[in-house]
Amino acid sequence: MPKHGRKRKKTRTHVVDDESAANALKSAEPPPPRSMVVRHGSSSAEEPELSELVGDWRNLMSPATALKLKERKGAKIRDYAEMAPVLGVTHLLAFSMNEGGNVNCKIARVPSGPTLTFKIKRFSLSKQVRAVQKRPIDTSSGIFQTAPVVVTNNFGGSEEAAHIKLMRITFQNMFPAVDVGNVKLSDVRRDYIIGNTGAFGGAMSDSEGEDEAANVVLPQKFTGRGNSKSQKSALKLVELGPRMRMKLMKVERGLAAGDIMYHSVVKKTPEEAKSQKSSIVQKEALRKQRREEQEENVQRKKNAKEEKKEAKRVKREARDVQAMNELRGEATLQVNDGGSEERASDSDGNNN
């Protein structure tokens, strides 16, 4: 309220962007991408390499990810999906290994999908990649403190198939956008390169720095000796790892649920899909019905138990009252007997 005699003056008139995670999700613009890399399924003791791969992925996605996330033993993707919106997480990467030893990776957009399921055909950990290099990069130099630049190769344009387009969009949106106006060159330290090998096969090779075309004139100062502004410098890419070759198995509309929009192996006719869907719906209805019945039974038993308890209590009280009455009855009799004796002597005469 204003002081007496003074006019009320508005102070907070400028709308400030609220950068908190939950509010960011509520706002109309897409939130900055944050990811959660987890493993689910069997314990880490059985597949240490898978745990390492998860760790390497967390480094890759840093800084917008939880580096020291500890998964609960029986946790499922649904549990992480429930937690993710609260933390402001936009992408969920879940690694698992099945009984056949195949490693699967699910990349899902939180909270309502879509989910891309990949089968990892082969992979190399960061430590393995750096072990074969002559001069590996020092990872303690703060290289993981800034987000990488995404480079996609051979994913085509708008004329490509829908599932390939979706893959490209998903990978591009997993990392924050580069602000070309305000970005510092020294912050651009890493590249995330993903290529669609398609039918050609073949592996990615290490880049070579001796090429003439790799020399560039730096528009800003960069880390390292001799990398000042307007200086010509050789651009070299050194692999950090991990390296993976994976195949898209299926695309689901929801978050690890919903309609399957693409499957690389299974092809169903519309009738088969319809019958499968109807069977799923029936199962769901049956499960719901059973749950309701179970709840009713539980409630009924609870009520019966309480009634029994009540009946026991009433019975016990009645017994107590009866016992009390009996005791009282004896006492009155005794008293009366005593009194009548006295009365008897009085009536006889003077026997006191």
Partner: protein
């Protein structure tokens, strides 16, 4: 002779009648010179002050015009003016026919003469039975047509600078949209709509002829490369920046969303049961929604979720309404209490005494009530007020104290 006299007298009479009519109302024909002059006058209006000589000339002409208008020696009757006009028109016609006949270079004399001869013939034919003005109008129309036919198709010389600039701008925009450095948006940051970048094909430093082949291969490689989201190129103002939109009703939006979601669900069902084309359309819609979600745009088309949101909204509204009602009753109660205290204090103050001296504006202080609270504060074993010392004092020694019940 008598007939001639009669005719002349009639003419004189008619002339006198004509002279009574003002010349501006009677004479409608205009010569080409007069048209030019009118145009020049109109043009001169915008050229005032540009040429000193023309200004003086104009002044002289104006003076002469005024003289001719008002002074008696320059006054002409309407009939005389009409006669003059006709003479001028005839003279012009003669001039036009002469000029058309004599135009053209030496080398083209033959053709020019031929053309003029044809036109003259055409004009001669047309002249029969038409007034001079109509003849002039036809000639003008012929000239215009001639010039139109002779005009180049593109009309490039006549395109204005403004139109040329606009065309260049549109061309640039179209080129940029096709395959330049700017693509479609991917993610946003700080209210800006980022744009997906595409690798430019002329990224190499040298473009000499000897490295042409290498550049081609590089550009071919780079054509398949794409980058992630790039922000900072275009700013799209957020609706949050506009405070007047902050009061837009969410429940109305949700109801509207629910209607749209139901309609979409129905439409998808219809497409599912339709032909193969309809099924393709349905797939296209579903893939489009999936891409939007992947891009970070929330697609609210699940009626169940929207209904949940509506329920949540109603619940929160009910809760806040209950809170408000509670607050109002609390405020009313506190006001009532304050009024009670005030009333009590006013009454007690009138009576005066100890009570009046110890009034509080925060609570109703009662003497009896105070005693009770004091007693309560003392606790068990301390019932009653101290009467005397245990070992006597005034009453004498020995003996325990009497019943220590408080005063009643």
């Amino acid at each position: 002779m008598t007939m001639l006299k009669e005719a002349l007298s009639h003419q004189a009479y008619f002339d006198s009648l004509t002279n009574m009519i003002p010349s501006s109302l009677y004479i409608t024909e205009t010569t080409a010179v007069e048209d030019d002059e009118k145009g020049a006058l109109h043009a001169n209006k915008f050229k005032k002050g540009q040429n000193k000589e023309s200004k003086e000339r104009r002044k002289a002409e104006e003076k002469l015009r005024k003289k001719q208008k008002w002074e008696a020696e320059y006054a002409e009757s309407t009939v005389e003016k009409k006669k003059k006009k006709w003479e001028e028109i005839e003279a012009e016609n003669d001039r036009d026919s002469d000029s058309e006949g004599g135009s053209g270079d030496e080398g083209e004399v033959g053709e020019g003469e031929g053309q003029a001869h044809e036109e003259a013939e055409a004009m001669e034919v047309e002249e029969e039975g038409l007034s001079k003005i109509e003849i002039l109008r036809k000639k003008l129309a012929l000239k215009i047509e001639k010039k139109r036919n002779g005009r180049p198709e593109n009309g490039a010389e006549n395109v204005s600078k403004r139109a040329a600039r606009k065309a260049a701008k549109m061309k640039k925009k179209a080129e940029g949209k096709k395959g330049g450095n700017i693509g479609f948006s991917a993610t946003t940051k700080n209210g800006e709509k980022p744009v997906r970048g595409r690798a430019s094909t002329d990224g190499t430093a040298d473009s000499s002829n000897s490295e042409g082949a290498k550049n081609d291969s590089v550009s071919h490689d780079l054509s398949t490369i794409d980058f992630g989201g790039i922000s900072g190129l275009k700013t799209v103002s957020s609706h949050k920046a506009n405070k007047s939109l902050s009061n837009v009703s969410k429940s109305k939006n949700l109801n509207h969303l629910l209607e749209k979601a139901n309609a979409k669900k129905q439409r998808l069902q219809e497409l599912k049961n339709g032909s193969s084309e309809d099924k393709k359309k349905r797939e296209g819609i579903m893939w489009g929604d999936a891409m939007k979600e992947a891009n970070g745009v929330r697609v609210r088309d699940d009626p169940a979720m929207i209904k949940k949101a509506i329920k949540r909204k109603e619940k929160s509204k009910a809760k806040s309404a209950a809170k408000w009602a509670d607050r109002i009753t609390t405020v009313a109660d506190s006001m009532m209490d304050k009024q009670k205290i005030r009333k009590h204090n006013l009454e007690k103050r009138k009576l005066g005494g100890k009570v009046a001296a110890n009034l509080s504006h925060k609570e109703i202080r009662d003497e009896e009530g105070e005693e009770k609270t004091k007693r309560r504060r003392l606790g068990v074993g301390f019932e009653g007020k101290k009467e005397d010392f245990l070992n006597g004092g005034k009453k004498g020694g020995g003996g325990k104290g009497g019943d220590r019940e408080g005063k009643q």
